[in-house]
Amino acid sequence: MPIASTLKVLIVDDQNSVRQMTRLTLEELGIRQIYEAENGKSAFQTATLQPVDLIISDFNMPEMDGLGLLRAVRGHQAIRKLPFILLTGRGDRELVVKAAQAGVNNYLVKPFTTPILREKIEQVLGKLT
């Protein structure tokens, strides 16, 4: 069972406010080790340079979007199994289909509440303690 306080989560979103909100929500779940990236490209760098246990990434970003990041992660030998949750807006149904094909672990529709976030993470990583 993953221990929340040891979990390393990488948040990827080009909007600072959304990153911070996600960070706050994660902190409510007891997650303390949170990295941030502004786009897929820098997220990919971060994920390859240091240990990360989970990526929560937005779709819409300049440089490299969420789907691009997902594909890059899945194509990289060392981190190809890295758990990946995609943030989507409502209405992005087709995106979820594409992400599922690309091997996303889960998706999360914005806006979300703390319990929903917990549920989505636990569906992937197991119960948080």
């Binding site: 040891t6 406010s17 997220a43 998706y107 914005k110």
Partner: protein, 723 residues
């Protein structure tokens, strides 16, 4: 949750940027400069606004953004073509979105039907059924057959090996030109490497020998490569190190137990091979030093590996938002630094030469660095004028609709940068000028056709750097100023006497007189009692100049020339009698000591200077400010200064004291506006000196008959002398 409020604030800041992108993008699309990327960028911006608005609970914003976004999505996926009508609808939608953001920011709840027309227009484009977006928030796509994929930790890489590695470089390793760092990097290239460094043997800095390796490493390598390949990495150093590579049967230390996917446990202090060494090599090493030296230094820096572990890098961002106040504080400090440095320079100069020599050298460096520091801080404050320009397309659109005119706005030089305080103060004057242009300048379509022009009027708004200033030009192809009407109005209002003979240019400039407005009827667009005089005042307040050129029937051009910064400037320190003044370098063209034969007496002037075939009026600063000159008429220096476009004159002073950066200190708060004086500054000797306004000086000289000293208004004279 106060951090929540703060985040809201951040969100709205982002919204301003995003809205700008929307506006910019849509304008480009309208001008047909847009590419697929443009539509994409607009879509992304609207989408981001929607996403954030959802999180922060601004439902009306989400609702509208959603419809807007749907249309944009259709356009970018070629399901909807771009037509002029569509673009207009999109532009209006951008405006509505911007209004909704503004309202949400102010904490107002927008009326239920706000922007309904626009929304319906958008929906009509897409044939979206009303209320389609009313899906429950945050819900999953229930109809979607998505099953979350639980993370199954790697049991073991298919053909994976796990090696336990212990590597202790021997005494000779560095001496032979080998670099442990490269070896570790190579090792990492093979797979997942987890190492911890043992720095226990690193001696105190003073005892470090640069060619001795003090650090050793132990850890595990998870790789598909075989033992030979791993050993191969150490080929060159195998004789000079203690090395052990042992393959483990399985990898419990790395692979996670299936039921407990906890993150990889950290073994001691993991060394991140890549980023660390870069930070480790201090620039103490001369470039031509042999390799091992660098490595030795690196070892020394490794002495406290625990610290590197403690602080994981946080956000990976290339920009950061800083509160303006903080930057302003730095600007002020730099200002003070400039003054202190000038004082230091003064003191050093007074010292005997054998002491001052080296000091001066060092001081020169300080001066150099201060200047660079100033420039960097100023560039931090700099903002592209585009921030203000952005608001204009919408203004023009709204005004055009209201007045039933057709107007196109063309912009250039939006990226020209200028101090942000100037950008801020530019908004009002610019808005006013553009309003005037649309309201009074551009004619109604029928009138335009009648006078042989195209139906659509054009306003060009441009910015560029020119000689240490930024010049902003607003040019329209409207009717221009009607001199007869202006003169008639000016006479009615008693602004000029009935028998005054004025040139067309002078008449045109009457519109800058207080209380002047030529619109026959006061419309609700311009002519609210705020006239061009206020515009001129505003521009002058930030040290700028405004000039106007009009060609009847062809249009009007207004030019604003503004300083780049308001805090520090280049100045020439000059002396007249016992007073010291500063002339802005930006106003100076050249300095000379003209021979007497080049100065011609001309009735009604204080003399004209013949300069390369051109006659320039001479203004005696001492007389103008009522300061007794210590030089005879023949002596002194003449500064050729600029007073507005194409106007040059000679400013006669007693002596040039030197070129210096001066910090601008406003005196208006304490003393009000003083003709001829732009501001004050503090010089190296601690004394206050006034910064001259050459344009005003020229005007003063031109409006006053050449008279003996003392004719200048007494309060100014007293002030000038009283310092």
């Amino acid at each position: 949750m106060s951090s929540f409020e703060q985040l809201k604030h951040t969100f709205f800041d982002e919204c301003s940027d995003l809205l700008q992108q929307v506006e910019q993008g849509l304008t480009d699309i309208r001008e047909q400069n847009g590419s697929d990327d443009t539509v994409n960028a607009v879509f992304r911006a609207v989408h981001s606004i929607k996403g954030g608005a959802g999180i922060f609970g601004f439902d009306s914003l989400v609702g509208f953004a959603h419809v807007f976004e749907t249309v944009l999505d259709a356009i970018r996926s070629d399901r909807l073509a771009i037509s002029p009508d569509n673009v207009d609808t999109l532009l209006t939608a951008g405006d509505v979105l911007s209004d909704l953001v503004t309202m949400s920011r102010a904490g107002e709840t927008p009326a239920e039907d706000y922007g309904r027309d626009c929304r319906m227009a958008l929906e009509a484009l897409m044939c979206i059924e009303q209320g389609e977006e009313g899906e429950a928030l945050g819900e999953d796509f229930a109809d979607l057959d998505f099953v979350p994929v639980p993370f199954v930790p790697d049991e073991e890489e298919e053909s994976g090996h796990v090696y336990e590695i212990s590597f202790r470089p021997g005494a000779e390793l560095l001496k032979k030109g080998n670099e442990p760092l490269f070896i570790l990097r190579e090792l990492r290239a093979l797979g997942t490497l987890e190492l911890s460094a043992d720095a226990a043997r690193v001696p105190p800095l003073s005892e470090i020998e640069f060619d001795q390796p003090y650090v050793s490493w132990t850890g595990t390598l998870k790789t598909s490569a075989d033992l030979a390949a791993v050993e191969g990495v150490f080929d060159f150093v195998s004789d000079d190190c203690d090395l052990s590579i042992v393959e483990k049967a399985s990898a419990p230390a790395l692979a996670l137990p299936p039921d407990a996917p906890t993150p990889v446990p950290e073994v001691g202090a993991p060394v991140m091979p890549e980023p660390l060494p870069a930070a480790m090599a201090p620039p103490l090493v001369p470039a031509d030093a042999p390799k091992p030296v660098e490595a030795g230094e690196a070892k020394a820096a490794l002495a406290k590996p625990a610290e590197t572990k403690a602080a994981p890098p946080k956000a990976v961002a290339t920009t950061t938002r800083v509160e303006l106040e903080k930057i302003d504080r730095v600007v002020n400090m730099v200002g003070e630094l400039v003054i202190a440095q000038a004082m230091l320079g003064q003191i050093v100069q007074d010292l005997p030469e054998h002491i001052s020599g080296r000091l001066l050298q060092t001081l020169d460096e300080v001066v150099h660095h201060t200047r660079e520091l100033k420039d960097s801080v100023m560039s931090m404050r700099a903002q592209p004028v585009g921030a203000v320009f952005q608001r204009m397309p919408r203004l023009v659109r709204e005004l055009a609709t209201k007045t039933g005119k057709k107007v196109r706005l063309e912009m250039s030089g939006e990226n020209t940068e200028v101090d942000r305080s100037i950008v801020e103060q530019l908004a009002d004057p610019l808005t006013h000028i553009i309003r005037n242009s649309v309201d009074h300048g551009i004619e109604k379509p029928a009138d335009r056709l009648a006078s042989g022009k195209s139906e659509e009027g054009t306003i060009r708004l441009g910015a560029e750097h020119r000689g240490g200033r930024i010049v902003i030009e607003i040019k329209d192809d409207g009717a221009g100023v009607n001199p007869e009407r202006v003169l008639k109005k000016a006479r009615e209002r008693g602004l000029v006497s009935a028998d005054a003979q004025l040139t067309d240019d002078e008449i045109t400039n009457l519109i800058f007189m207080p209380g002047f407005s030529t619109a026959e009827t006061v419309s609700d667009i311009s002519g609210r009692g705020v006239g061009m005089d206020v515009v001129r005042r505003n521009i002058q307040d930030i040290g700028g100049r405004i000039s106007l050129k009009s060609e009847r029937g062809k249009g009007m051009t207004i030019q604003l020339a503004l300083p780049l910064t308001l805090a520090v400037m280049d100045g020439m320190v000059i002396r007249v009698g016992r007073e010291t003044y500063v002339v802005p370098m930006s106003a100076m063209v050249e300095c000379l000591r003209p021979p007497r034969s080049d100065i011609h007496g001309l009735v009604g002037t204080r003399g004209m200077l013949r300069l390369r075939g051109e006659l320039l009026p001479i203004v005696h600063l001492g007389e103008l400010l009522d300061v007794a000159s210590t030089e005879s008429d023949a002596g002194g220096v003449v500064i050729i200064a600029e007073a507005g476009e194409d106007i040059r004159f000679g400013l006669r002073v007693d002596e040039l004291c030197g070129h210096q950066q001066v910090v601008i200190k406003s005196i208006e708060e304490s003393y009000g506006s003083i003709p001829g004086i732009a501001a004050a500054t503090i010089l190296g000797n601690g004394r206050v000196a006034f910064i001259l306004d050459t344009e005003k000086l020229y005007e003063m000289a031109a409006s006053e008959p050449p008279a003996p000293a003392g004719a200048i208004r007494s309060e100014n004279a007293a002030f000038a002398l009283g310092n």
